[in-house]
Structures are given as structure tokens and as C-alpha cells.
């Protein structure tokens, strides 16, 4: 039992963080929200150079051959920097699905050369389909890989300007089918868990960023002749947010480990991670906005770039708690 990331894992995280800090500034995220494709110019190429898209792809397919344990910290940072690209959908869900299905599309997606968009199991929308070359879709329990040119898209704007939601109209065919229903079932179950852990990691990063930004603000903002951050009410708001995030994070890391090692409890671990991270990020958003006051309510303040993502990603917490409940009460826990 050793609940600590390996030094190399932290080094990789730090390397990606350097790029994000430089390339994915709040100003560029804001610009991406206002852009046609909700992408930071050049960012995907930079991440591709570091191997991020193919972290879970085998080395033979041009990937890094790593596991969810290494990925989880990178995804956390994708939240910390509010990366607008659908990193979780593609890197944590799409790539391992293509990998496990031995799809010929894997190599180009894993290298970052071709951009994918992935329909998550049960999701009515596909995120980022407009900017994608290739779409991984589901039809009647099957998995299909479809070229962007073969689909039509109906946009449904999200409150989070980086999440370009689309309903996709397309014609499934033998040519597009990657997996039939029997093959797809276990892989889609994995996809559910990977999405849960991926978004949970991102929510932890979002929460940390909101706390950090708010700390900076309340140290600088003065009212009644002293920093707002010296008032006990503000201190306790932010302390509560930090407690929630610090307590959620290890559960997210554990769930990543359980996925990587296909531990029997991985589904419950994934749902627990998602439920806790959703609540922690919602609390951090609430406290961050309250401590900012009206300034945080302005569109021109950057806070909402993180806050809206936290709302968008957190709404399925009840579904995940219900999954944990079934495990505890019906299957006797894990």
C-alpha cells in the first residue's frame, strides 16, 4: 500500500502544466469561448507533441502506453487551466475505446493528427463534433466510427462556452460499424467509468483553480479598510471549499488506479469519485462566486470560465450516488 504518485508521473504532469500555463491562459480560453470551434489555436498540437492525446494508446500505435493513473493528474490540470478542448471525451474515453476495439483510426487520433469527437454512453449530445475530423458514435448498442463529412450537426449551446454540444444526424452502416452490440457492451461499460473518473479529475482541477483565483482576489480586494480575505466569514467559506476538494481528490486518484488495474470495485470507485468531485466543485464554485461578490458575476471576470464548466459537468452526481447505493445495498458494498 503506497498511495503516492511516482516521480515520473509528477514530472509528466509538470511538463504538461508548463505548456498549459503558457498556451492556455485565461485570455486564450476566453477567446476560444468566443471562437467558432472553441479551441485554443495550436494547443492540441502542443499537447500532441507531449503525447497527451495518446497517453492511453499503446506505444506501437504511437501512444505513450500509460495508464489512467498517469492520465488523472493531466486531466486534473485540464480543469485547472479550463482547457476548452474535450480532453476527457477524447483522451480518456475515445482513445481507449478505439484501442480496445483495435480501430485503424486509433493512431491518427492518438497522435493528435486527427481530431476526434466522442459520444459518451447515454449522452444525448456529442461535444466538439464541429471541430472534429472523425466521430465515435453509438447506435443501438453498437459503436461506429464516422467521418465528419458524413454527419449533420444541430448545435445546442451549453452554458459552458467551451462545450459545443451537438445532436448528430447520420446513417449507421456496416462500413461505419466498429463494434457490434456484444463486443460493445463491456467496452461501453468501461467508457462510462472512464468518463466518470476523467470528469471527476477535471472537476477537482476546476475547484482548485476557483479557490486559488478567489484567494488572490480576496487578498487584493479591500473593504472596511482591510483585505476582504481577513474576514472570518470569507476565510471559512474558502476553508470549507478546500476541505471538500482535498477530501475528493484521493477518491479520484484511487478510482483512476482501479481503472488502470481493472479492480473489481472500479465502477463504484468511479461513481464515488464523480459524486464527490461534483459536489466539491459545486461548493467551490458557490463559495468562489460569493467571495468575489458582484465582480465575480460579471462576464468580463474570468471566474465564470471555470464555474460554468463545474456546473455543466456536475449535474449527474445523483445518478452516480444511486449507482453507489445499489452497490452498497444490493451487492453488499465493495
Amino acid at each position: 500500500m503506497r498511495f503516492a504518485f511516482a516521480p515520473e508521473t509528477l514530472q509528466l504532469r509538470d511538463a504538461v502544466r508548463l505548456v498549459l500555463a503558457r498556451e492556455c491562459t485565461a485570455a486564450r480560453v476566453r477567446a476560444a469561448w468566443a471562437s467558432d470551434d472553441a479551441r485554443v489555436p495550436g494547443l492540441w498540437t502542443h499537447l500532441g507533441t507531449l503525447g497527451v492525446p495518446g497517453m492511453l494508446a499503446p506505444v506501437d500505435d504511437g501512444g505513450l502506453g500509460l495508464t489512467e493513473v498517469e492520465l488523472v493528474l493531466v486531466l486534473e490540470d485540464s480543469g485547472r487551466y479550463a482547457v476548452p478542448e474535450p480532453v476527457v471525451d477524447v483522451v480518456a474515453v475515445g482513445v481507449p475505446l478505439l484501442r480496445d476495439a483495435r480501430s485503424p483510426a486509433l493512431r491518427a487520433v492518438a497522435s493528435g493528427e486527427r481530431i476526434a469527437a466522442v459520444q459518451l454512453p447515454g449522452a444525448p449530445f456529442v461535444v466538439g463534433a464541429g471541430a472534429a475530423h472523425v466521430l465515435v458514435l453509438q447506435h443501438d448498442g453498437e459503436v461506429h466510427v464516422v467521418d465528419r463529412s458524413e454527419v449533420t450537426l444541430e448545435a445546442h449551446p451549453s452554458v459552458d462556452g467551451s462545450r459545443r454540444l451537438h445532436r448528430v444526424r447520420w446513417s449507421p452502416s456496416k462500413a461505419t460499424r466498429l463494434l457490434d452490440g456484444d463486443e460493445a457492451t463491456p467496452l461501453l461499460a468501461d467508457a462510462v467509468d472512464r468518463a466518470a473518473v476523467g470528469f471527476a479529475a477535471q472537476l477537482v482541477g476546476l475547484a482548485r483553480a476557483m479557490i486559488d483565483r478567489t484567494v488572490d482576489y480576496v487578498k487584493a480586494r479591500h473593504q472596511f479598510g482591510k483585505p476582504v480575505g481577513s474576514f472570518q466569514a470569507v476565510k471559512h467559506h474558502l476553508a470549507d471549499a478546500l476541505v471538500a476538494v482535498e477530501m475528493a481528490a484521493p477518491s479520484v486518484y484511487r478510482a483512476a488506479w482501479s481503472l488502470a488495474h481493472r479492480a473489481p470495485g472500479r465502477a463504484v470507485h468511479a461513481s464515488m469519485a464523480k459524486a464527490l468531485a461534483s459536489d466539491a466543485a459545486a461548493l467551490a464554485a458557490r463559495k468562489a462566486l460569493q467571495c468575489h461578490g458582484a465582480i465575480g458575476y460579471a462576464y468580463e471576470n474570468d471566474l465564470h470560465l471555470w464555474m460554468k464548466r463545474a456546473w455543466a459537468l456536475g449535474a449527474d452526481a445523483p445518478w452516480h450516488r444511486a449507482r453507489v447505493e445499489r452497490a452498497i445495498f444490493e451487492d453488499g458494498g465493495t
Binding site: 451549453s158 462545450r163 460569493q290 458582484a294 458575476y297 465564470h304 444511486a322
Partner: protein, 377 residues
């Protein structure tokens, strides 16, 4: 104690309901926090005024019906139940008008109130400044005497002026005596926004609508007749009626009763699980408790008592309730919760402002603790 409505009250309610049924636009108007939407809402305000529904509790001479507070609550219930448009006249009617009735001269009342009620002159509040938010007494905007012109010259910046980009006028405090201490030496001014020296910069809210504005004043002339109350006495002028904002008029129970009714419908439509149904029940009870609390407050006011720091109890409650109510809606919506165009998603963002505006809930809790419970400052 009599918790039945009188025949007169019932008749009032029926009349309001009938008019609203016949007149509320079938399709919701575009947001009143956009330029186009604001113009349409101004038309709606006029329509209300013409039918004497704009300011039901006001004297008849200014367009009201001299309705009791209970009747006013009934009107509000019907108004929100009918899904009627947001009130862009609200800040004038609920924030400025009570002060005008209390401190204004007859000339001011006659000149300002009818145009306010008719939507001809719409008012933005100018309380906050960039460095005076919770610490409202930190106001730096200054008023310099202009004896020659018979008035004052205002300079400074007012922030978070609701719909300031579209309104006609602004009310707010300016420092008329720079030598006086914080709460002293302030004067309450009524300032036209479309005049020389005023620059209005729209400020987007969370949802992107330009619901706010920064208002910059550079040597703006205001005649003496647009000083409200005594010179240098603006703080007490503003504070005397501030509790009505927090405690009664700003968010009347009708708004939440209507919201919670929609929430129950949403829960039914989405076949909510028992856990979420329990959250709906809590929201329903809260909205109902708020209605009853308000009726009790109204009886106290009708009995001649003033609304003091109790207003802060009300404000903390409704603002937190509104957030919980909308959080429950977001859970009920699941994957649809993030759709920007959804009314609940808009409403959720608006609810999040509740614990901040009209005095943050941190300030309100201080007020409750210090003024109602007597804890030391």
C-alpha cells in the same frame, strides 16, 4: 388572526388574474437585460400602467389603486403565476419610490412618480462604486457645489447599475462634504443618464446579457430640485427605506411560489426519484414558509411597526432558498441542465446573484447578529 382572504381581497385577486390572463404575452418577451428586450419591456410597463396594475399600492393620483400590502402580495402572486414579464421598472418602483414618498417634496413626487409608473422614466440604482461594495459608506463619488447654476456637479463612477445601459436616470449617493466622516457628508441625488458628462459602459452578467452598467460621471450638473432629502443627509435618506428592499418588495413570495410550482411540474415530468422529490418538498415548504413569514410581516407593518433588521432575516432566507430551489432543478434536468437557453439554467444563474446583491448575505448575517441578537460589533 384571520387567515382567510376577505371578499374584497378575493375580488382584487380575481380582477388581477383576469387582466393578466387577457394581457400577458403568450410568448415570453426577450430578456429585459438586452437593448431590444428592454424596449419591449418598457411597452409592457406602459400597458400595466394604463390598466392601473403597474403600482397597485400607490395613491390613485400617481396611477395606483391604493391597494393594501396584502393585496399587493396577491397581485404579485398572480403576476408570477401568470408568467408575466420581468419588471424593468422595479428598481425605481421598489427602491426609489419608497424614499420619494418618505423624503420627497410634493413637487418631486408629482414630477417623478407618474413618469416612473408609466415607464416613461426608468431608473437604475447607483449604490455601489468600484471600491464601495459591501462597504457602502466608502463612497468616493463627489458632489461639488455650483452656486451659480443653483445645483451640484457630480463626478465619479457608479458600478453594477442594473440595466444602467438602458435606463433613463439613476439615483445614488455622492460625497457632498469631503471633510465629513464616512457615513456623513453624503447627499442623495437623482441624476439623468442622457446628459452631458455621463458615460455609460454596459457590463455583461454571467449569462452574457448586458444587465449591468458602469456609469462614469464627469462634472455632471444636477439642479437642487433633484436632491432627495436634506443635503449631507443622504445616508439616512437611503437607509430609512433600504430594509424594504431587502425584506419585502424586492423579492415578494409570489416569485418563489410560482417557481416552486414549476419545479413540482418539472419533477413530475422528469419522473423524479424520491431523493430529488424530497428536495422538491423542501423547496415547496420553504416557499410556503416565506409566504407566511411575509404575511406576518405585512400584518406587523399594517399594525404600525417599522421593518427593521428583520428584513435581513428575510433576505438571507429567500436568497438561499432560491439557490437551493434552482440547484434542485438543475439536478432534475440532468444532462439538459447545461443548455444555455433553458429557463432554469438562466434562473439558476440569476439565483446565484441573490446572496450577493442588496447587501451580501455576509453583511446581512452581521446585521442579524448585531441588531437582532445584540452581539458586539
Amino acid at each position: 388572526m384571520d387567515l382567510t382572504y376577505t371578499p374584497a381581497e378575493d375580488a382584487f385577486r380575481r380582477e388581477a388574474r383576469a387582466w393578466l390572463e387577457a394581457n400577458v404575452p403568450r410568448e415570453p418577451l426577450p430578456s429585459g437585460d438586452t437593448a431590444d428586450g428592454f424596449a419591449l419591456h418598457r411597452v409592457w410597463e406602459r400597458r400595466l400602467f394604463d390598466a392601473r396594475w403597474a403600482v397597485v399600492s400607490w395613491p390613485r393620483e400617481y396611477g395606483g389603486r391604493e391597494a393594501s400590502l396584502v393585496e399587493w402580495l396577491l397581485f404579485e402572486e398572480e403576476y408570477y403565476a401568470a408568467g408575466a414579464p420581468q419588471r424593468v421598472a422595479q428598481n425605481g418602483i421598489f427602491l426609489l419610490a419608497p424614499t420619494l414618498f418618505h423624503f420627497g417634496t410634493k413637487e418631486q413626487q408629482d414630477r417623478i412618480l407618474p413618469r416612473m409608473a408609466a415607464g416613461e422614466e426608468l431608473w437604475a440604482q447607483g449604490w455601489s462604486e468600484p471600491n464601495a461594495g459591501s462597504d457602502l459608506a466608502g463612497i468616493q463619488g463627489r458632489a461639488t457645489r455650483d452656486d451659480a447654476g443653483g445645483g451640484w456637479r457630480l463626478s465619479g463612477q457608479k458600478a453594477w447599475c442594473t440595466r444602467g445601459a438602458f435606463c433613463d436616470s439613476l439615483f445614488g449617493l455622492f460625497r457632498s462634504d469631503p471633510a465629513a466622516e464616512r457615513h456623513r457628508g453624503l447627499t442623495y441625488f437623482l441624476v439623468p443618464l442622457r446628459t452631458e458628462g455621463v458615460t455609460v459602459r454596459p457590463v455583461g452578467r454571467l449569462d452574457g446579457d448586458a444587465g449591468f452598467a458602469d456609469v462614469f460621471l464627469d462634472d455632471v450638473f444636477v439642479p437642487d430640485r433633484d436632491v432627495l432629502g436634506a443635503v449631507h443627509d443622504g445616508w439616512s435618506v437611503a437607509m430609512t427605506t433600504a430594509s424594504s428592499e431587502r425584506g419585502l418588495t424586492l423579492r415578494s413570495p409570489g416569485r418563489f411560489l410560482a417557481a416552486v410550482r414549476r419545479l413540482v411540474e418539472l419533477a413530475r415530468a422528469r419522473d423524479a426519484d424520491p431523493v430529488l422529490r424530497d428536495a422538491v418538498v423542501r423547496a415547496w415548504m420553504d416557499a410556503e414558509a416565506h409566504r407566511l413569514y411575509t404575511l406576518q410581516t405585512v400584518a406587523r407593518l399594517e399594525g404600525g411597526k417599522a421593518l427593521g433588521a428583520e428584513a435581513s432575516v428575510n433576505k438571507v432566507f429567500w436568497s438561499e432558498m432560491d439557490v437551493r430551489l434552482h440547484e434542485t432543478a438543475m439536478c432534475l434536468l440532468g444532462p439538459d441542465a447545461e443548455l444555455a437557453a433553458g429557463p432554469w439554467t438562466k434562473g439558476f444563474q440569476f439565483a446565484l446573484a441573490g446572496p450577493i446583491y442588496a447587501g451580501t448575505n455576509e453583511i446581512q448575517r452581521n446585521v442579524i447578529a448585531e441588531r437582532l441578537l445584540g452581539l458586539p460589533r
